[in-house]
Every structure is written in structure tokens, then in C-alpha cells.
Symmetry: C2
Subunit: 297 residues, 2 copies
DNA sequence: GTTATTAATTGTTAAAATCGATTGATGTAT
DNA sequence: ATACATCAATCGATTTTAACAATTAATAAC
């Protein structure tokens, strides 16, 4: 099935509007012969006469007028396509679908969203909160464009840019014996009282391995940091919290005490990851840089 | 300003729908390399990435999806264009704007319209009644496609096909002295009593010249054949009527007598005329033939 | 590791688009 | 009437483009 070309339709429209081959050719930046043969070709393709040529004037047939109308529509859409693609050329001016893991999201997002919007007013962030493994799946399927994860995490084939680092603190009930110490060393931690997030949350793994105690048996119980903190406040045990959480109002008002850990301070790294092939790859470095800058404050 | 081509958009749409270059190429009846480079070209033209290619799958970017949507619209219109032009290829299936002079219209049209519609059910006739000179102008400007005129008439540059011929009769008041004769010769006509249509109607000229009396002074008075007949019935004078008018109920019920003219019978020819360049030129011969056939009955 | 799949790439050929110049037909002005 | 100007079609040459077949490089599956 042969279709007319946009060029042919463009030429036709010009002739129908100007009623003059020469002028139409000029408007289209081609010679009259080019335009003339293009329109003949269109007529041949469609098997329909579109213009009546008397030597002195050009008279569009009803079919010519009708096709010019259709041509107008097609050209409008074509220009719209150009517009659309031009409007998306500034950095971070379009929609970015960002996944964030639950142990980062509630502390990071309140801090960065507003300044991010100010830095990139045309950026539209679509946020998804989920655990690392699920975010990876969504990334791969194209459901999201990028994700903020805690490293180390197996990120094969993904591009990755560090955006910050934070140490872990220990949260304990008020009046706990441990509160007497200003800094706590990993060896002093009462592993039997350790409360951790349920499986799937990387925070627990990171904290544990950072303390060297990956073979210790612990109870995975909390489904979110918030409930975990509540449990600590009620005296059920102790847990790790990431440094960023310290500023959170939730922790500030909980009846808990917080202590840093001794050198070498256990910590996790936060990174923005994306498909190496992502159409957003140019934007991603910009975004990661901005995030790093905002987190450093 | 460079625009995408319909082909590029077609290829893009195929890939977006099938998520597979090879299959998309097959659907478009081109090789994979052709399709592949066409889409790259489109991306380069727009300066926007439309597809993410991981070796194992193709993932349209949001922009790719959006453009596919626009492509769908454009292709729909394109196919519609093909449709439109195909639907107008049968003979006399479209709109034909036909002009008819006032001294032919009221007698010819009732006779031919219904059979014409039966012969060409898809033909849509748009009728315009006007004097020859004005019809010529409208023809030239493209306002109408063809006209039925009485010859002789200067029809330079127009294509022309005879569709019939009719002799003139003389109409006179009942009981007029002339009624005693069965046939009237031109010489016997009382020129001083001749009533004719006002200037612009060719009927008068034709009748007069047919009778050889073009230099005779006559009163042009009637603005239509109907009023002219009324004047004759009231005894104001005599006039010519074309043979086709004899069957008209208007003449049958008027208080007038009708007589034919002697050999050589004065007559006029009726013809269909159109611009030689008309896009309808192929239809015109068909139409003229049908009209001639219907008038001969 | 090996094989199969997939899109990009390369080199070649055929097709087309475009141009410049000319032609032929048609009004217009002298 | 005659010369002139205008306009779209046509022709021939050149450049550009489109398309193909074959190959390559990367990846996933076995």
C-alpha cells in the first residue's frame, strides 16, 4: 500500500492556498519543476485530478480542496511532533519516574523535593516507594526511569552514581544501660536485643554487615522504621537507624536515645541507578549531582 | 524546516506496537536494516530518543509512545486520503455542479432528473439557473463544472457536446387570425406584434435569427417565458416557444394556440459545455450522452 | 562454553528527488 | 497585429536517498 508523502501534501496545500505553482514552490523552498512533478506524482498515486491547470490560473478540484484539508491536518500534527520533541530538549524538563527504597524515602524526599523543584521547575517527578529488588524489576521493565538505592547492592548492567553516604546510629529506649556511653562499638552491641526490619529491606543487611555480625541470629520484625522505633521506645530492644533519620520529627519526638557507633563507623552509601540504555541517561547525571549537592547540606 | 516522513512514522509505530525491529520490518515489507536506519534518522531529525534498545528487548520512551500516537493519527488520515480518492473513481459518482439557462431548465429538468438519478445513483447534481453569459463566467471561475446552453453561442476554449435540438413554435392568443394556418412561414409573422424575452436570454436571438429577421425592431419585455405566455394569452402579441415547452403543463393550460413554423424549421441546438481542462472531463461525455438519450425519448 | 537472537553497521546498488534550462501555451500591452 | 510577459510542463543531468544483503557485536538461553 503506497501512501502519499508529507512533502507531496505540503506542496499541494501550498498550491491550493496560493493558486500558483511558482509562488507555492517559493514558499516550499523548491523549484517550480520539483513542486510540479511532486504534485503530478501525487495525482498519479491517487489516480485523481487535484488541480485544474489553465495556463493562466490554477483551480483546485473539490477533491484537491478536500485533500488540502487533510494535508493541513497532517502538517499540523507533524509540526506538533517537532514541537513536542523540541520541548523535551532542556535538561530535566520532562517526567522522571523515580523509585526510592522505604528506608530512604521518608527522610530524603522532604529534604530534596522542594529545592529540586526550584532547580528544575519543569521537571515532573513521579515517585514510587518500594524495596530494592522490586525497584530493580520495575527499572528493567521500564516502569520507572531511575531509583535511589542503598549500596552495596548488585546493580549489574545498571548505570550508577553515588549521591551520598550516611552512618548508622543505634536507637535504644530511654534509660537503657547503653545510654551511658557516648559512642558504641560494634562488639558492645547486645545482639540478642537487636530488632531489624523484615526481610527485603536492605537497611538491616547493611547495618549488620557493617557491624561484622552477619552470622548472628536476630528477629526480623518491623515492617517499617516507624513501627520499629515505636518498639524500641516501648523497650522491646534496640535497632539501627540511618543518620538522615535523626532529623526526622518522628525520631525527635519518640522516647528513645540515639548513639553513634565507634570507628570504623558503619555506614551505607546511597546511589541513583538507571538503565545504562535509558533515554534519560543524560539527565541522570544532572539529577544525581543535584541530589548529592542537596544531601550534603 | 524538516519534517518527519510518513514512512518513518509508520516504521516507528510498527516497532512501538511489536517491540521488535525484525517483526516490525516484516510488517512494513522492508528489511530490518532499512527500518533500523529509518528510525535512527527520525531520532536524529527530532534530536530525541524514541526507543531504548537493550539487545534483548525494545522499550519505547515516553516520547516514543507519544509520537507513535501522533503517527497513528497521521496514518489514519493518510489511509483516509487513499479511501477518499478511490471512492471517487467510478464515473459520475461525485458532485457535479450544473448550470442551465432559464429557457431550458424548466422543461428539461423535470424530464431528466429522475432517470439521471436512476442511471447514476451516486451522482449529486447541484443545479444553477442563469443566463448564458453568467453561466460562462461561473464556468470559468470554477463555480460550476458544466452548463447546458443553447447554441450557437461563443464557446471558445470550452469543450462542447451536443445533446439535442428543438424547433421553435409560435404561440398566439386563442382565436388569433394566424390560428387558421397549420404551419406558419417566417415571412407571415407579424413582427410588430412579436413579444420577446428581455436582453440576455439567447432564446430571442436564436428565434429571430432563425427567422432571418435580426434587424427587426421588437419589444423585449418578458422576464420569463411564463410571464411572456401570460401576455400572449391576454392578447398582447405573439411569441416563440421552444418545442420542449409544449409538453409543459403551464403551456397546456394557458389560453393560447401553438403552431409550428414552415421549413426550413427554425430551431436551436442544446449542448453541454465544460472547461476543456475540467477534472470532470471524463464524466462530461458520459453525462452528455445520457442527456442526449433522455431528450430523444 | 556454545548457540541463537537481535539490532547496529557496512558497502553496494537502484531509485528518487531536485535543479536549471527550455518549451509551449496564453494573456497583455503596444 | 505584434511583441512581450507569464506560467506550468517537460527534459536532461546530478545529487541525494532508500533499500538490500551480508556482517558484526552484544546478549540471553541452553
Amino acid at each position: 500500500m503506497y501512501l502519499p508523502t508529507i512533502k507531496q501534501l505540503q506542496y499541494l496545500l501550498a498550491v491550493v492556498e496560493l493558486r500558483h505553482f511558482g509562488q507555492a514552490a517559493e514558499r516550499c523552498f523548491v523549484t517550480q519543476s520539483t513542486l510540479s512533478s511532486a504534485i503530478q506524482e501525487l495525482e498519479t498515486l491517487l489516480g485523481v485530478q487535484l488541480l485544474e491547470r489553465t495556463k493562466r490560473k490554477v483551480l483546485p478540484t473539490p477533491m484537491g480542496l478536500e485533500l488540502a484539508e487533510q494535508a493541513r491536518k497532517i502538517l499540523k500534527i507533524s509540526f506538533n511532533i517537532i514541537e513536542l520533541s523540541n520541548s523535551s530538549k532542556k535538561p530535566l524538563c520532562n517526567e522522571v519516574r523515580l523509585g526510592v527504597i522505604p528506608t530512604i524515602a521518608p527522610f530524603l524526599l522532604p529534604k530534596v523535593l522542594l529545592p529540586l523543584h526550584q532547580a528544575f521547575p519543569e521537571l515532573s517527578l513521579l515517585l514510587i516507594e518500594d524495596q530494592s529488588a522490586l525497584l530493580m524489576k520495575r527499572l528493567e521493565s521500564g516502569e520507572i526511569d531511575c531509583a535511589i538505592l542503598a549500596l552495596p547492592y548488585p546493580t549489574e548492567k545498571l548505570a550508577c552514581q553515588l549521591i551520598g553516604e550516611e552512618s548508622f546510629w543505634v536507637a535504644m529506649p530511654e534509660g537503657d544501660p547503653l545510654t551511658k556511653k557516648c559512642k558504641i562499638s560494634a562488639a558492645e552491641l547486645p545482639m540478642e536485643r537487636l530488632l531489624l526490619l523484615e526481610e527485603g529491606h536492605c537497611l538491616s543487611d547493611h547495618a549488620m554487615s557493617a557491624c561484622g555480625g552477619s552470622e548472628v541470629k536476630v528477629l526480623y520484625q518491623g515492617s517499617s522504621l516507624y513501627t520499629l522505633i515505636e518498639m524500641v521506645a516501648w523497650g522491646q530492644g534496640i535497632t539501627f537507624v540511618p543518620a538522615m533519620a535523626l532529623e526526622s520529627p518522628l525520631l525527635k519526638h519518640a522516647k528513645i536515645e540515639l548513639r553513634p557507633l565507634d570507628e570504623p563507623t558503619p555506614h551505607r552509601q546511597m546511589a541513583l541507578v538507571w538503565r545504562a540504555t535509558s533515554y534519560q541517561k543524560n539527565n541522570m547525571l544532572v539529577l544525581a549531582d543535584k541530589l548529592a549537592e542537596l544531601m550534603a547540606i
